[in-house]
C-alpha cells in the first residue's frame, strides 16, 4: 500500500491527466438535454488514438533516429486486423472481450512490423526513409487489389456493439468508447514510456547518437533498429484498433501517405527530442485539422508553414522550446520574460492575421468560388475580386512583420542576458 502511495505521489501527473481527460467532455456537456457533445467526444477520441500513433512514430524518429514515411501502413493494417476481428466476434466465430480489440490491432501491427521491418531496417538514415516510403506506397496500392482483406474502395465496416464486454458495457454510446480510448491511451503511453528505460530503449537512443560506438559496445545496430521498428508497429496497431472501434469503418485512408505525414508532423512539431513532445504535437495538429479545416480550405498550408518554421528555427519542437527555458526557470527569473513575451504577442498576432487574410483571400478566390463559398467575417461578406481586402491584408502583414522583427531582436537580447546569467549562477547542474 505504501508503495502505491509513494508511486502516486511521485508520478501524480499520470492519474491527474487521466482524470482531466475524463472530465474534459463535461465542459461541453449539453446540460439542457442531458447528453454529451458527440463531436467533442469523437474529437477527443481522435486525439487519444492519434497520441498513441504519434508516440509510436516517435519511437522511430526521436528515439532511434529513423525517419519513416510509411508508418501509416502499420496503423492501417492493425486497424484492418481489428475490424476483421470485430466482425468475426460479431459473427460468433470466436469470443474476445471488446476491451481487448485494440490488442488484436496491436498484434497485427507487430506482425507486419516484423515483416516490413526485416527489409526496411537493413538500411538506416535516408535509405531507410526511401524504403519506408516505397513500402507505404506498395501497401496502399495493395489495398485496392486484395478485396478480401481490404474491402476495396468501400473498406471494411464493422460494429463495435459486440456484446462481449467484460465490464458489461455495450459501447454503443460515444462516451463509453471514449473511456475505453482514454484507458488504452494511458496504458499504451505508460508502456512506451517504460520501454524507453529498457535495454532496447536505451540502445535505440545510443544507436541514434552513434551507431559505430553502439557496435563497439557489442550491439548490432540493425537488430536494435529491427526490434524497435517491430515494437513501434505494435503500438501503431493498437492505435489502429482503437480507430476501428471509434469509427466502425476502416478504409485505405488509414494507410495513406497523409496519415503517415500526420504522425510525422505531430511528433516533430510537438518535439521529437522529448518523450511527451508528440503528445503536445498531436493535440495541436488534431485541433488544427479539425478546427481550422472547418473554417478554411488552406489549413494544410498553415500546418506546413508552421512545420517549416519549426524545422528552421526550433528543431526541438514545442517541447524543445519549453525545455530551453529550464536554465532560466532554475534561477527563478522566468518572470523577467513575461513582458518581452507580451511585447512579442501583439505584433506576432498582427503578422499572423495579415498572413491569414491574404491566404484566405487567395483560397476563396480560387477554391472557394469554385465551390460557391463566400468569405464572411461576421455578417459582412468580402469579395476577393475587390482590391481593398488584398491591400489591407498586405499592409497588415508588412506592418506586423516589421514590428515583430524589431520586438524579436529585443527579445533575443533579453533572452541572451538571462541565459548568460543562468550559466554563471549555475555552473554545476
Amino acid at each position: 500500500m505504501k508503495v502505491v502511495v509513494h508511486l502516486l505521489r511521485r508520478h501524480w501527473l499520470w492519474p491527474a491527466a487521466i482524470v482531466a481527460a475524463l472530465l474534459l467532455p463535461f465542459a461541453f456537456f449539453d446540460w439542457a438535454h442531458g447528453h454529451h457533445s458527440g463531436f467533442v467526444l469523437v474529437l477527443l477520441s481522435q486525439i487519444g488514438l492519434m497520441t498513441i500513433f504519434a508516440l509510436s512514430y516517435n519511437m522511430l524518429m526521436g528515439q532511434s533516429g529513423l525517419l519513416s514515411f510509411g508508418h501509416a501502413s502499420l496503423f492501417g493494417l492493425g486497424s484492418y486486423c481489428a475490424a476483421h476481428a470485430m466482425n468475426a466476434v460479431k459473427a460468433g466465430t470466436f469470443w474476445l472481450p471488446t476491451e481487448l480489440i485494440p490488442l488484436v490491432g496491436g498484434l497485427g501491427g507487430l506482425g507486419f512490423g516484423i515483416l516490413l521491418g526485416y527489409l526496411a531496417t537493413k538500411q538506416r538514415a535516408t535509405a531507410f526513409a526511401m524504403i519506408t516510403m516505397g513500402m507505404g506506397e506498395l501497401i496502399a496500392a495493395c489495398a485496392l487489389m486484395f478485396k478480401g482483406f481490404f474491402g476495396g474502395e468501400d473498406g471494411i465496416t464493422t460494429d463495435r456493439v459486440l456484446g462481449t464486454s467484460i465490464l458489461g458495457v455495450s459501447y454503443s454510446a460515444p462516451w463509453q468508447v471514449y473511456c475505453l480510448v482514454v484507458a488504452w491511451t494511458a496504458i499504451a503511453t505508460l508502456l512506451m514510456r517504460l520501454q524507453t528505460q529498457t535495454p532496447l530503449g536505451r540502445m535505440a537512443n545510443a544507436t541514434r547518437d552513434n551507431f559505430e560506438r553502439a557496435q563497439f559496445v557489442g550491439y548490432d545496430p540493425r537488430m536494435v533498429r529491427f526490434r524497435q521498428f517491430a515494437a513501434s508497429g505494435f503500438f501503431a496497431g493498437i492505435a489502429g484498433g482503437l480507430y476501428a472501434l471509434v469509427y466502425q469503418i476502416v478504409t485505405f485512408d488509414t494507410m495513406s501517405a497523409d496519415t503517415s505525414a500526420a504522425a510525422l508532423l505531430a511528433a516533430y512539431i510537438g518535439g521529437s527530442g522529448s518523450f511527451y513532445g508528440p503528445i503536445l504535437g498531436t493535440i495541436l495538429v488534431v485541433l488544427l485539422q479539425s478546427g481550422v479545416s472547418l473554417l478554411s480550405n488552406a489549413w494544410m498550408l498553415y500546418v506546413g508553414a508552421l512545420f517549416v518554421i519549426m524545422v528552421m528555427f526550433a528543431p526541438g519542437g514545442l517541447a524543445g522550446l519549453i525545455s530551453r527555458h529550464e536554465p532560466i526557470r532554475r534561477i527563478g527569473r522566468l518572470r523577467a520574460l513575461l513582458i518581452p513575451y507580451l511585447r512579442l504577442l501583439f505584433p506576432g498576432f498582427i503578422t499572423v492575421a495579415g498572413t491569414v487574410i491574404l491566404v484566405e483571400l487567395t483560397s476563396f478566390a480560387t477554391i472557394g468560388s469554385a465551390e460557391g463559398q463566400h468569405l464572411q467575417i461576421g455578417a459582412r461578406s468580402i469579395d476577393p475580386a475587390n482590391g481593398m481586402p488584398w491591400l489591407t491584408g498586405a499592409v497588415v502583414l508588412v506592418v506586423g512583420g516589421v514590428w515583430l522583427r524589431r520586438e524579436a531582436r529585443n527579445f533575443g537580447v533579453r533572452w541572451n542576458m538571462l541565459i548568460e546569467d543562468a550559466k554563471t549562477k549555475w555552473t554545476r547542474p
Binding site: L119, K122, T126, M130, G134, M135, M145, G304, V311
Partner: protein, 315 residues
C-alpha cells in the same frame, strides 16, 4: 507485335520523362546529401506555370519561362531554407523539403483550384506523326523525346566539357572533395539545386499535358522517382538513365499486358479454380498489380543489391 512496338515507344517517352525528374534528384542527392522531397512538387509547378503561361501568352514561351521560374524558386529555397537547415543535419534538410512539398501542394490547390487544369497539347504539335501497324503515334510524344533527349545531351556535354561540370562529376562520387577543392561550394550547391528544380519544371512543362495536370500530380509521380533513384544507384547518372527506362517500361508494359499468373500456369497445363488458395492473387491481371510493380522492384533491389544498378556509394 504492333502492340509491342507502340508500347515500347510509349515506355521510352515515359522513361525519359522519369529520367528528367530522377536525374535532378540524383544530382542533388549525390552532391548535397539532400533527398529533395519536394522534387515532384516542382514537376507539378512546372506544369501549372506552363498552363498559365500557355493560356495567356503561348506554349513556346512557357517552355522557357516555367523552368526558369522553378529554378528561381529552387534557388531561393536552397539559399534561405536549406542552408539554414543544413546546420541541423540531413534529417532537418529532408524534413524541410517535406514541409515545402506540403506548402507547394496546398499553394497549387489555392492558386489554380482543385480540379484538373485543362493544360492541352499545343495545336501545332497535336497531330499524328506516323502510324505503326495502324496505331497513330502522336507528334507531341516525339517532341517530348526530342526535348528530353536534348536535355540529356546538354547535361552530358555540360558535365564532360565544362569546368563546373567536372566539379559536379567529382562531387557526385566524392562529395567531400567538393569542399576541399576551394571552389565556392555554397554557390555550386545553389546552382545544382536550382538546376535540378528547373529540370523538374521542364519535365512538368512537357509532361503536364501528356498526363493530367492536377493537384495530385506531385504525390502520384514523386514516389516513382524515388524508386528510380534507388534502383539506379547513387553517384551514377548512367545508372539513373537505365533505371528510368527500366521503370518506365515496367509501368507502361504492365498496363498493356493483360495477363496474370494464372495464364502463365495455364500454359503449363495447370488450371486455377475459384477454390484454390491464393486464387485471388493468381488471377490478378498485370494491369491491376501495375501500380505496385515499381515498389516491388525497389524492395528487391534494397534486399539484394542495395547499391542499385550502378551506384558508386552507399546511401
Amino acid at each position: 507485335m504492333e502492340v509491342f512496338v507502340v508500347t515500347l515507344l510509349n515506355g521510352l517517352v515515359y522513361g525519359m520523362l522519369l529520367f528528367m525528374l530522377a536525374s535532378g534528384l540524383t544530382l542533388i542527392f549525390s552532391m548535397m546529401g539532400v533527398l529533395n522531397f519536394a522534387h515532384a512538387s516542382f514537376y507539378m509547378l512546372g506544369a501549372y506555370f506552363a498552363y498559365s503561361v500557355s493560356t495567356h501568352i503561348g506554349f513556346w514561351p512557357a517552355l522557357v519561362v516555367a523552368p526558369v521560374l522553378c529554378g528561381l524558386i529552387g534557388a531561393a529555397i536552397e539559399m534561405y531554407g536549406l542552408r539554414r537547415a543544413h546546420r541541423n543535419g540531413h534529417v532537418a534538410e529532408l524534413l524541410l523539403t517535406f514541409g515545402i512539398a506540403l506548402i507547394i501542394g496546398t499553394a497549387v490547390e489555392m492558386g489554380w483550384g482543385m480540379m484538373p487544369a485543362p493544360y492541352r497539347v499545343p495545336s501545332l504539335l497535336d497531330f499524328p506523326l506516323f502510324a505503326i501497324y495502324g496505331t497513330q503515334f502522336p507528334a507531341y510524344r516525339a517532341f517530348m523525346l526530342l526535348i528530353s533527349g536534348a536535355m540529356f545531351g546538354a547535361i552530358w556535354a555540360g558535365l564532360k566539357y565544362t569546368r563546373l561540370g567536372l566539379i559536379i562529376q567529382a562531387a557526385l562520387s566524392h562529395p567531400d572533395m567538393a569542399s576541399a577543392l576551394g571552389h565556392n561550394v555554397p554557390r555550386v550547391f545553389t546552382f545544382v539545386f536550382a538546376a535540378g528544380t528547373a529540370l523538374a519544371g521542364l519535365a512538368g512543362v512537357i509532361g503536364g499535358n501528356y498526363q493530367v495536370t492536377e493537384p495530385d500530380m506531385a504525390v502520384a509521380m514523386g514516389p516513382v522517382v524515388f524508386v528510380v533513384v534507388v534502383v539506379g544507384g547513387l553517384g551514377s547518372l548512367t545508372g539513373c538513365f537505365i533505371a528510368s527506362l527500366l521503370v518506365g517500361m515496367v509501368q507502361t508494359f504492365s498496363v498493356v499486358l493483360d495477363y496474370s499468373l494464372a495464364d502463365l500456369l495455364r500454359l503449363g497445363g495447370v488450371q486455377v479454380t475459384d477454390t484454390m488458395p491464393f486464387n485471388e492473387l493468381l488471377t490478378m491481371s498485370l494491369p491491376r498489380i501495375g501500380p505496385l510493380l515499381p515498389y516491388a522492384l525497389m524492395l528487391l533491389f534494397i534486399a539484394f543489391k542495395p547499391r542499385g544498378l550502378m551506384g558508386t556509394r552507399d546511401t
